[in-house]
């Protein structure tokens, strides 16, 4: 009704009784609803609702976690998104929270059943990432949620190995001490995969099976041992006459795998048994080309120089005469025996240096590890020695050099055994006294640093060409 009509009605309405007013209002409302229905029916039908855009669950959850969007993460989890989904790198939302120091979303994920020990494709757990980034509160949350303090990643490191922040390291080591984790237990856990493989190799050897069997891509046990840094497995295989020059389908030799995965002591061992430091893959890559670790590159450089020096000496008349004499006694092509003690001590020095650089351990932990490694190595050497004795007489000459090395190791290990094994308290006390000597050479995990890299525009150099285009003021292609 028009406003003027309503105004005109007012005197008449004022004269009505209350009941008459209510009845009139009800009639008006009924009329209003009928008109509205008619108008609704006359309208065209509404447009159908647009399809909603959505992503695969793992993409959405990981992207929301990266943006630290708590509300959306909660909504996705309420919609039954799996908190353990991961991208192609194996990165889970929990890893992302550890990298970004996002405690709020991490607590939410753990509450909804996220796996606290999820491992990415490089076997990093969220605790590895948090320890590496020195996010102390994240470390506490993960430890309280049951994180595995002894998880070993693809580089053989436990979380406390890659933590270079004092307070965060204290939290981890205090928890390790509280759980009664001793240094020997740590070494045992760290060396478990290698010991398992060594046991497998020995069993295969006893059964008379071939130790150079190949995987579908052409790689052998020696390739695997070289890539993983399994020194004793590789030593065992080499002493059982597995060739260090064996190649897989891509023409990778074990020395390429050791260089690619930064295993300097494996490179030395392979070259000692006749491996070629200049070997090339199908793509023409040498171990130096494949190596990305600086300390391992130094080891390779020294080996290259040593071989160059040896090659120069071979041209001397007197030296060649001496070599011919040696060749009469030992028909083995190994050249280690001819160099006497000096290269051995030099090699030992190189190994100690590379071990420190590789793992970023404190001097105290280096000492503790060396003791454990010596014990482990002694044990494996004794077994190798037993194999040497059990072999045929004609092979004894070829094995004489390794047996000499075993004897030296035995004497050294007997001295080490006289020392008392350190109790956990002594170990912790030693760590505290050496706290100021911590090394800052711990390598950051590439995944975490990668997240922080700025994106590079692929066509940055096009800007020069753009300037040229700017000057074409008379270009006929310009559309006004």
């Amino acid at each position: 009704m028009d406003h003027s009509e309503l105004i005109a009605e007012l005197p008449e309405i004022e004269r009505m009784t209350a009941q008459e007013r209510i009845a009139l209002a009800r009639d008006r409302r009924r009329l209003q609803l009928r008109r509205n229905d008619e108008r609704e029916r006359a309208l065209p039908p509404p447009r159908p609702r647009r399809q909603r855009l959505h992503f695969a669950a793992e993409v959405e959850l990981l992207e929301a976690t990266c943006r630290a969007d708590y509300a959306e993460v909660e909504r996705l989890l309420n919609d039954n998104a799996n908190p353990n989904l991961h991208n192609d790198d194996g990165l889970t939302p929990l890893h992302q929270c550890a990298i970004d120091d996002n405690q709020q979303i991490m607590l939410l994920l753990l509450e909804r059943g996220a796996n606290v020990n999820a491992q990415d494709t490089e076997q990093w757990t969220p605790l590895h990432a948090a320890a590496c980034c020195a996010h102390i509160n994240i470390v506490k949350i993960l430890i309280q949620a049951g994180a595995n303090l002894l998880a070993v990643n693809a580089e053989g490191n436990m979380p406390y190995d890659i933590c270079d922040h004092e307070e965060t390291l204290d939290v981890i080591e205090s928890e390790m001490a509280a759980r009664g984790i001793t240094q020997s237990y740590i070494d045992e856990m760290r060396g478990a995969p290698e010991k398992a493989m060594l046991d497998d190799m020995k069993m295969l050897h006893q059964q008379g099976r071939e130790l150079d069997a190949r995987a579908p891509d052409g790689s052998t046990y020696l390739h695997v041992a070289s890539a993983n840094g399994y020194y004793d497995v590789a030593a065992f295989l080499l002493t059982c006459s597995v060739s260090p020059l064996i190649r897989d389908n891509d023409f990778w030799q074990p020395v390429h795998a050791a260089a690619c995965w930064a295993q300097p002591d494996l490179i030395e061992l392979l070259c000692q048994y006749g491996g070629d430091i200049h070997a090339k893959t199908k793509n023409g890559e040498t171990p130096m080309d494949l190596c990305e670790d600086m300390s391992t590159k130094q080891v390779i450089s020294q080996l290259v120089q040593t071989e160059a020096r040896r090659r120069r000496l071979a041209f001397g008349v007197r030296d060649s005469r001496r070599q011919s004499k040696k060749r009469k006694k030992f028909e083995s092509p190994q050249q280690g025996a001819t160099t006497g003690d000096n290269p051995f001590s030099a090699r030992g020095a190189i190994r100690r240096q590379s071990l420190r650089d590789r793992s970023g351990l404190t001097p105290a932990r280096i000492e503790a590890q060396k003791e454990g490694a010596d014990i482990l190595r002694t044990w494996s050497k004794e077994d190798v020695s037993a194999d040497v004795h059990s072999s045929q007489g004609s092979l004894q000459h070829q094995r004489e050099s390794p047996s000499k090395r075993v004897l030296k190791y035995y004497f050294q290990s007997s001295q080490n055994k006289q020392a008392k094994p350190m109790s956990p308290d002594e170990w912790l006390r030693k760590l505290e006294t050496n706290a100021d000597d911590d090394l800052d050479t711990t390598p950051k995990r590439s995944g975490s640093t990668r997240r922080r890299q700025k994106k590079v525009p692929g066509d940055m150099s096009d800007s020069r060409n753009g300037d040229v285009r700017r000057q074409k003021s008379t270009c006929c292609c310009v559309i006004c």
Binding site: Q51, T121, A215, P457, D459, R469, R470
Partner: protein, 343 residues
């Protein structure tokens, strides 16, 4: 010896030019479809990604191609070559199949993938010609399965300096380069999928307020120095910006999250898919999931260690991402698998 003579490639360019010219400069597409970003002459990687994600051919069509290839070899009409190199040759002889009626059941059984490429097929990489020849041949054979957008490198002023002109002139002649350039000049600039997702090579434009504006553009044309078409092929997102600001590239603008939201609201869209920038994981989100950058040249120029990505959009507009890694990283990964097997 090259597989094709210049006359054959010129004919391919002419036919593709006529076909693409007959389609609008602004494409309206329907899901399901896959979106692939910059290729930049990396032909081996393009083949690997099509093998991984699926070709725009069904298995029956592949078998037919094999038969044609074998027959061609037996009759000696074509020189001996590797099977994948004969794709452009043989696919020309296959007539486009009759379009099947669209239904859920039949689409499931078609067995082929539809593709939208975001441009930058040439320059920088070593096999720009192979990339363009394969994609245009597939376009001619299956017009409704392949759509090719134009990138800033499909422009004379750019690809004379970054490798394509040098490659064509060295292997054939400058006249053939003109044929390729004439074909590029009719390529479309952007596409909209289900009225929901807008795809282009570069980025959004402040001056694009309605899709009706595309009717004023007449092809063939070069990418101009300023304007909507420049922005669609040259613009970049910048999280630190609010509006539009001249780009450091020297062409077009950079835009911030507020500009993107205004653009999406004005044109009633939900997302933008673009290429134009290397991203480490092959894809990267901007402003939540409103814009995503896709790059499909892994190990770009042999200098980046980046992954390549392909987006798959299904009929219900669910998006999944397939990534393809550089070979060097796969090599390391192989040892990891063995390591796990040992454990």
């Amino acid at each position: 010896m090259d597989l094709f003579c210049a006359a054959e490639l010129a004919e391919l360019c002419h036919r593709a030019r006529e076909l693409i010219w007959s389609e609008p400069i602004f494409l309206k597409l329907e899901a399901p479809i896959c979106v692939m970003g910059d290729i930049h002459g990396q032909f081996d990687d393009l083949l690997a990604m099509l093998d991984m994600n699926g070709w725009p051919l069904s298995s029956q069509e592949f078998e037919a191609l094999k038969d044609i290839t074998v027959r061609s070899r037996e009759t000696g009409k074509r020189p001996q070559s590797e099977p994948h190199s004969t794709q452009p040759e043989s696919s020309n002889d296959v007539k486009p199949p009759v379009a099947a009626p669209k239904s859920v059941n039949k689409e499931v059984t078609t067995g082929y993938k539809r593709y939208l490429f975001l441009g930058d097929y040439v320059d920088r990489g070593p096999f720009s010609m192979e990339v363009v020849i394969l994609l245009t041949a597939l376009k001619l054979a299956y017009p409704d399965r392949i759509y090719l957008l134009r990138g800033n490198h499909e422009s004379r002023s750019v690809n004379t300096s970054y490798g394509f002109y040098r490659e064509v002139n060295y292997r054939y002649d400058a006249q053939l380069y003109e044929c390729f350039q004439n074909m590029f000049n009719v390529f479309p600039f952007c596409a909209v999928i289900n009225n929901t997702i807008m795809c282009m090579h570069g980025g959004i434009s402040e001056h694009l307020t309605s899709f009706n504006q595309f009717s004023v553009f007449k092809r063939p044309l070069e990418i101009p120095d300023v304007g909507v078409l420049t922005d669609l092929t040259w613009a970049d997102p910048d999280p630190t910006e609010k509006g539009y600001k001249p780009s450091a590239r020297g062409a077009s603008f950079v835009f911030g999250p507020p500009a993107l939201r205004a653009f999406l609201k004005k044109l009633d869209l939900q997302m933008v898919i673009r290429g134009h920038q290397v991203v480490e994981d092959g894809y990267e989100f901007f402003d939540g999931r409103r814009l995503v950058t896709i790059f499909s040249a892994p190990n770009y120029c042999g200098q980046n260690d980046n992954t390549a990505a392909v987006f798959s959009i299904d009929k219900k507009l669910k998006i999944s991402i397939n990534v393809f890694r550089p070979e060097s990283r796969d090599k390391k990964r192989g040892f990891e698998k063995e390591r796990k097997a040992k454990k």
